[in-house]
Amino acid sequence: MQHYSGFGLIKHSLSHHENWQRAWRNPTPKKQYDVIVIGGGGHGLATAYYLAKEFGVTNVAVVEKGYLGGGNTGRNTTIVRSNYLWDEAAHLYEHAMGLWEGLSQDLNYNVMFSQRGVLNLGHTLQDMRDIHRRVNANRLNGIDSEALDAKQVQEIVPHMDCSANTRYPVLGASWQPRAGVARHDAVAWGYARGADAHGVDIFQQTEVTDLIIEDGTCVGVRTNRYGDIRAERVGSVTAGNSSVIAAMGGFELPLESHPLQALVSEPVKPILDTVVMSNHVHGYISQSDKGDLVIGAGIDGYNGYGQRGSFPTIEHTLQAILELFPIFSRVRMNRQWGGIVDTCPDACPIISETPIKNLYFNCGWGTGGFKATPGSGHVFAASLAKGDMHPLAKPFSMFRFHTGALVDEHGAAGVAH
């Protein structure tokens, strides 16, 4: 793998940037792998990367039906934070946060991780009680978190209407300074390049059409392009399509797939240098380095795989954003799209063994998977490498919906759900 550096940039400029090495190979599959990862999004590629790099399992295939990062990885609003309420979730997301902080160096790929802070606004007295509770829980778990009053919020975001005259006045917020945003495409590409360099085979435009199951054990996948590919273990990381893969294995998951919409405005001059989220008025907003305002909200309530949602959802989102930022009322929206998120009843992921032996699932991240990409990949890789779930993944077994040990993160999961 060619090492990226400032010097390399100068060197390649001499040849008009025409001789850059391909970031990853386009291989043909072997008959047998140690591990097959279904799904070439951020989580799947991170899983493959850590399998090869940290756990020494280099005979790995990633099978992606579209192109890398073309699903939710390239469709989310790129917010990264770890201020979750319960210990199990907080530890998992904070594990991811730790990896985010060294990710660009680790991958030798600039993922543009910008720790610009995230505000979660409170608009009612109960909001503020919940915020104080969550901030205290975060601090006990060693996560940076502060409770701010309206005046302090106004200082951080001077353009936001924090006056008492609005319909839902901002009473305060929780503030995580280490939180922020990252470049979502770069995360997929960086992990793909890193995994490829460690010997992982990545197959794009290769759809898994069935699982090969012999005597209750998963021994590989059937694909539309390369026929059967066999493996010791199979990990499914297919987000919104997880229930479809589960159906191939003959079982159901406690998931519903919903469209989640986002939109960006035309690029404007720098005006918002942090991330603002509000559960109560239902919207979140940040500004990308390119200048566009990146806006998202809750899911569309119906099940859907169509990667698009209904207009009223967008309308409600923009009503919320304009309530907070009347200054944006004349900003024109540029693009709008939807991704398919797999929501779990307790707003926490599933990182789990399944009723089928040697088949593992990493799914159920719902509306908040991007922030967990490195941590999710890392703990799932550890689990796949050893055939034994990583301690951080154990509380997120799919069987918690049988035992009742749910991890209710509806408060911290934020706007959606």
Binding site: N241, S243, V244, A247, E252, L253, P254, L255, E256, S257, G301, Y302, N303, G304, Y305, G306, R308, S310, F311, P312, P345, F401, H402, T403, G404
Partner: protein
């Protein structure tokens, strides 16, 4: 954006008047005391979530406030059929037993 026919009002109305309540035809346990943890979990949380035809419960909450069932394609979002609670769908996918 859906234009949904309410079988109680006998009229098409905009999606905004309705609310979707998830998978239809989930039978309540006949003998709740006898259920195992697994059966309870399956009843409460595990769902079909198909890519294709889906039978789901909707409520006309800004209209007549009555419940009814919709058969809808979850990929094209096309509504195939609307029928009242207690009735069985006539449009079903081959793999699907209601």
């Amino acid at each position: 954006m859906f234009h949904i026919y309410c079988p109680h009002c006998c009229e098409h109305r905009e999606e905004e008047e309705f609310h979707v309540k998830g998978q239809a035809h989930i039978a309540r346990p006949v003998d709740p005391e006898a259920l195992s943890d697994e059966e309870w979990g399956n009843y409460l949380y595990f769902r079909k979530n198909p890519r294709g035809l889906h039978h789901e419960l909707w409520v006309h909450n800004a209209g007549c406030r009555k419940f009814f069932n919709v058969t809808r394609d979850t990929v094209t979002y096309e509504i195939k059929e609307v029928y009242k609670v207690g009735e069985q769908p006539s449009v079903v996918s081959p793999a699907d037993k209601v």
